[in-house]
């Protein structure tokens, strides 16, 4: 019998290769290629007065230096605004190379091509750019004050303004028995993949084509973008994502200036050109996320049920808006989490600043939304003197209420309708795992020893698997190998394992026979990309559907060969056989041979498919009408809307009474992503996400000074945590299948990161009795919060206040 594959915690098939150093990342390719390097702006806002390359002319190995005026039409156009939205009334994008003005430190000004990257970087240092610095707009408060503008033609620095509402939230707040009003802050962080961006272009003069390798999350869309910019038909451009050392969102942005410029330069020079980003470049010229200021008004009843929630927030989107306003849209819609609120209003203003662009980073606006909602739940509980879990429970959407329509429009333009979930069960489970009910005793005991312990909890719902579609192609060859391809890319998710599990299960073949290719437009050209926790849902289902087509064809051909009804056949271990009569069987590889009628035999197996070997029982054509040669299947999955995963995290922290150091003692996760294809991989995703969440809660931030210089643009200063800072994470799974897709699955990629800041803030607040309204928090900040709490400048929790909003 074939071992059941779907749902099995098998080991990642990618790891032996990657762990043995046999991965092929961007910079492992193209050793003979010319190297590109970029002169980038040292100013947050400046006019480019002059670019002097005199000193660079002397450097042996110089090939070319390009500035804006070298760029031909289309390449010289502003970069595309990828996701337009009616509310984005003042969308602006940058140029591939600065067109007279720079709007953030790190914006590319000139491109150098040289014989190797060392020479290229030396030349970058020799190019003198004369800038006239302009006043910089840094931080949300300066942006909204608008005393200075990032773009002269964008009044108030406002790129977008959007209101979504259900019911009359202001009225519901005003008339509620209890009311609270407060402000919350979240700072910037970034995806920070260990491998930065990179592009390697290989022009082929013989046919005018170009093959581009990019460390991207969407090779198909990069391909269309390059084709459009270079004025080529897409058939002349192939884009391949090789092994990618992490993406986390930043690599879904495209086309990056470098993707266009490297491809263009390669064609101009008729040479291979490669660029691999360095760490500082990544900090200042890729993308960031998270920064928001939120103003919350909430009205609730005696049980803590939210009757009205009115949230206004300011979102910092950086210097340009190539990715539209997806992040704040997600914040404003996913803020609701697993709760039904009486009336809801979310209003956001998305602002320009002279800082690096803001585009989705794992979680993509959800961590901010969840921080807002969960801090709100904690405040309600505190206000009413109720248990925090109990207040959440009182607001949950109940299992029988699905599908549940939140009445808003989600990031995919579709209604925000939750498909399935079981929030009460998840809460019970996470409480049990963390020891919620026993904690007060534990806390008290610790306090007696002078230790400060705190417990926190947070819940989230994550819309995953957004459309529009993905496809899958599955082919069985005459050796019995199964070749699977899908267009979206992989950055460590384990697609080569989980997609193979789906195929092994659907086709009844050994998983070792299955080989998976992703992110290669030569193999599959229609795709959207890897983001929004969508790969398993979209490509997983597409591949399953492709397998079902292939299986149907295999059974039909086998049925003819075995003179059996296809309905009586099964495929086990790569053998098609009659159910109950396993001796009447034919290997799938032979079926593959028969599926392709041949004139010429190229090997032993092929002989069976040649014209004189086949029975000529009927007069029909060798390939029947409506059929194709070959044993393969192709299909697409296009969901009507997103499927909503959910989860709850809880943590126990200990805070040092002297140093204010925060240590996480326990961390528990209950996670529900529907049917799991591979629980080990789901856990790995959750673990990685929690680690990134802890990073964002306690360590990482983007330290901009008032002139827009990023002060911590290195791994010396940007505190990415080590394994030593990450606690053991206990994971529990619920499996509430999605009714929306054939496999019943939901996305899992981003989940782990989403509620962490909210959980840690809640736990620190519980340990300290001091209001935590701003994340991330450092020991230094907590230390001073304590000082200010002593003088009454900062609120202590548990102090009963008036219901009147301040």
């Amino acid at each position: 019998m074939t071992t059941r594959m779907f749902g099995e915690p098998i080991q990642r098939r990618e790891d032996p290769r990657l762990l043995a150093g046999r991965g092929r990342y961007l910079d492992d390719l193209g050793h003979g290629a010319l190297a590109a390097a970029f002169v980038r702006s040292p100013h947050a806002h400046a006019r480019v007065l002059d670019i002097d390359v005199t000193d660079a002319l002397d450097v042996d190995g110089l090939v070319a230096i390009y500035t804006y005026e070298d760029l031909p039409e289309r390449v010289a156009d502003p970069l595309p605004l990828l996701i337009p939205h009616p509310a984005l009334t003042h969308g602006r994008t940058g140029y591939p190379l600065a067109n007279g003005i720079v709007r953030h430190v790190g914006e590319p000004v000139a491109m150098v091509v040289a014989t190797d990257p060392y020479v290229a970087e030396d030349i970058v240092d020799l190019i003198q750019v004369n800038f006239e610095p302009l006043p910089a707009v840094v931080g949300i408060e300066n942006a909204v004050r608008a005393e200075r503008l990032v773009h002269d033609d964008v009044p108030g620095n406002v790129g977008a303004h959007l209101v979504q509402e259900v019911g009359d939230a202001p009225l519901a707040v005003d008339t509620a028995p209890h009311r609270l009003e407060f402000r919350l802050d979240i700072e910037r962080s970034a995806s920070t993949p260990l491998e930065g961006r990179g592009v390697y272009a290989r022009p082929d003069a013989s046919d005018g084509s170009i093959r581009v390798y990019s460390s991207t999350q969407t090779s198909t869309s990069v391909r269309f973008a390059i084709a459009a910019k270079l004025g080529l038909p897409a058939t002349k451009v192939e884009v391949i994502a090789p092994d990618v050392g992490g993406g986390f969102g930043v690599k879904i942005v495209h086309p990056w200036p470098e993707e266009i410029l490297v491809s263009w330069a390669a064609r101009v020079l008729g040479r291979e050109v490669k660029w691999a980003e360095d760490r500082r470049e990544h900090f200042v010229s890729s993308a960031h996320e998270r920064g928001q200021v939120q103003f919350v008004r909430v009205g609730f009843d005696d049980e803590g049920r939210v009757l009205g929630l009115d949230v206004r927030f300011l979102h910092d989107h950086g210097a340009y808006t190539p990715y539209g306003i997806i992040v704040p849209i997600i914040t404003s819609t996913q803020l609701l989490g697993p709760y039904k609120v009486g009336a809801y209003r979310a209003e956001f203003t998305s602002l320009y600043t002279n800082t690096v662009i803001v585009t989705p980073y794992r979680g993509a606006g959800r961590p901010q939304g969840v921080f807002c909602m969960e801090r709100t739940m904690d405040r309600i509980a505190e206000h009413l003197g109720r248990d925090r879990a109990e207040v959440r429970s009182a607001n949950f959407i109940q299992p029988h209420e699905f599908p549940y329509d939140q009445g808003l429009v989600f990031q995919d333009g579709r209604p925000l309708i939750y498909d399935s979930g079981n929030y009460p069960e998840a809460l019970e489970k996470v409480k049990e795992m963390i020891g919620w009910d026993e904690f007060p005793g534990r806390q008290e005991k610790a306090a007696a020893q002078g230790r400060r312990l705190g417990i926190g909890l947070a819940c989230y719902v994550e819309g995953t698997g957004v459309g529009p579609y993905e496809g899958g192609h599955v082919q069985v060859d005459s050796a019995g190998r199964v070749h699977v391809s899908t267009g979206l890319t992989s950055q460590g998710q384990g697609h080569g394992t989980v997609f193979a599990q789906i195929v092994a299960e659907e086709l009844g073949v050994p998983i070792d026979a299955v080989e998976v290719t992703t992110g290669d437009t030569r193999r599959f050209s229609y795709a959207v990309g890897t983001f929004a926790s969508r790969a398993a849902v979209l490509s997983g289902n597409a591949i399953a559907l492709a397998c079902r087509r292939l299986r149907e064809k295999a059974l039909r051909i086998a049925g003819e060969a075995l003179e059996a009804d296809p309905g009586d056949l099964e495929i086990v271990d790569g053998i098609v056989r009659v159910v109950g009569n396993p001796r009447t069987a034919i290997p799938l590889r032979t079926v593959a041979v028969l599926a392709n009628p041949l004139r010429y035999a190229f090997d032993e197996e092929a002989v069976r498919a040649t014209q004189f070997a086949r029975s000529s029982g009927d007069d029909g054509p060798p390939v029947p009408e409506d059929d194709e040669p070959g044993l393969e299947g192709r299909d697409y999955y296009s969901p009507v809307r997103s499927t909503f995963a959910s989860g709850m995290h809880a943590a126990v922290v200990e805070v040092d009474p002297d140093t204010a150091e925060v240590r996480i003692l326990r961390y528990a996760v209950v996670h529900d992503c529907g049917r799991m294809i591979n629980p080990t991989i789901v856990e790995g995703q959750v673990h990685g996400g929690v680690a990134q969440g802890i990073a964002g809660a306690l360590y990482e931030r983007m330290a901009y000074d008032e002139s827009g210089q990023l002060l911590n643009a290195s791994f010396m200063d940007f505190l990415m945590p080590y394994a030593t800072e990450i606690p053991r994470i206990t994971t529990g799974h619920l499996e509430t299948p999605s009714p929306l897709n054939p496999l019943g699955i939901k996305g899992a990629g981003e989940a782990g990161v989403i509620p962490v800041s909210a959980v840690i803030a809640s736990a620190i607040e519980d340990a300290e009795g001091i209001r935590i309204a701003r994340m991330p928090i450092s020991p230094d900040e907590l230390f001073w919060l304590r000082r200010r709490a002593e003088t009454g400048e900062v609120e202590r929790t548990g102090v009963v206040k008036s219901d009147r909003a301040p």
């Binding site: 006019r47 480019v48 007065l49 002059d50 670019i51 002097d52 390359v53 005199t54 660079a56 002319l57 002397d58 450097v59 042996d60 190995g61 110089l62 090939v63 070319a64 230096i65 390009y66 500035t67 804006y68 005026e69 070298d70 039409e73 010289a76 600065a98 067109n99 007279g100 003005i101 000139a110 014989t115 330069a265 101009v268 020079l269 008729g270």
Partner: protein, 233 residues
């Protein structure tokens, strides 16, 4: 692409205009010049070798002089072609008196480069052209003031130009005063035409960073290709 620059030659205008009619001077002064010959009235043919960035090769070019106004100004139309690319340029040259019995030479070039040469970027081409022009004028200056081995600059660095070129130049029978005009203009459009004068030499020297001071080499040259001054549409 526009390249503008100027240089001072330490001789009176008329002397510059006339004396440079000597084809030997001309041939010496154009760095990288393999040959110069007349090709009809006010027209010249020349062959030069040059390297621009990684693009190296020999270019065959023609130059035609128009709009003569001796000894003040002329316009030179040049076009060159070689394995690595093509170049076409129109160069306006003006001579005027400068302080101390000297001549101020100003040039204004508008050029288009094609092929591999066109791929090195406008800043590189303009930079090479300006440097080539400057070295050309230094060589001319050397010929006129009898310091043909190259004047010693204030900084004490020896300028290698003219006679120190790598290619021995046959005394091509260039006749007529426009030879020098061609040479001057060719200096201005050097990179484009492939009159890469001392650029190769300069590149070699640069490894020891002993280029002449910029004030002498570059005159008041400015590059008007700055992007912010120009809207593309």
């Amino acid at each position: 692409m526009k390249v503008t620059g100027s240089a001072v030659v330490r001789a009176p205008v008329r002397k510059v205009w006339d004396a440079l009619a000597n084809p030997a001077v001309l041939a010496k002064a154009i760095p990288g010049c393999d040959s110069v010959e007349t090709a009809g009235p006010d027209a010249y043919r020349m062959t030069v070798s040059m390297d621009v960035a990684q693009v190296s090769g020999t270019y065959a070019g023609t130059a035609r002089v128009t709009d003569r106004d001796p000894p003040r100004s002329f316009v030179l139309r040049v076009s060159g072609q070689g394995a690595p690319g093509t170049a076409d340029a129109t160069v306006a040259v003006r001579l005027s008196e400068a302080e101390g019995e000297a001549t101020q030479v100003e040039y204004d070039a508008d050029a288009v480069a094609g092929g591999a040469l066109g791929g090195v970027g406008q800043r590189v081409l303009a930079g090479v052209a300006k440097r080539a022009a400057a070295e050309f004028f230094v060589a001319v200056d050397g010929e006129l003031t009898g310091t043909a081995a190259g004047p010693v600059t204030e900084a004490g660095a020896r300028i290698v130009a003219g006679a120190d070129r790598r290619v021995p130049v046959p005394a091509a029978p260039a006749r007529g005063r426009w030879a020098i005009a061609a040479a001057l203009a060719a200096g201005g459009a050097a990179a484009l035409l492939g009159v890469a004068l001392g650029w190769l030499l300069a590149a070699r020297r640069s490894r020891t960073r002993s280029r002449p001071p910029r004030s002498m080499l570059w005159g008041t040259g400015t590059d008007k290709a700055d992007p912010q001054y120009r809207s593309r549409r």
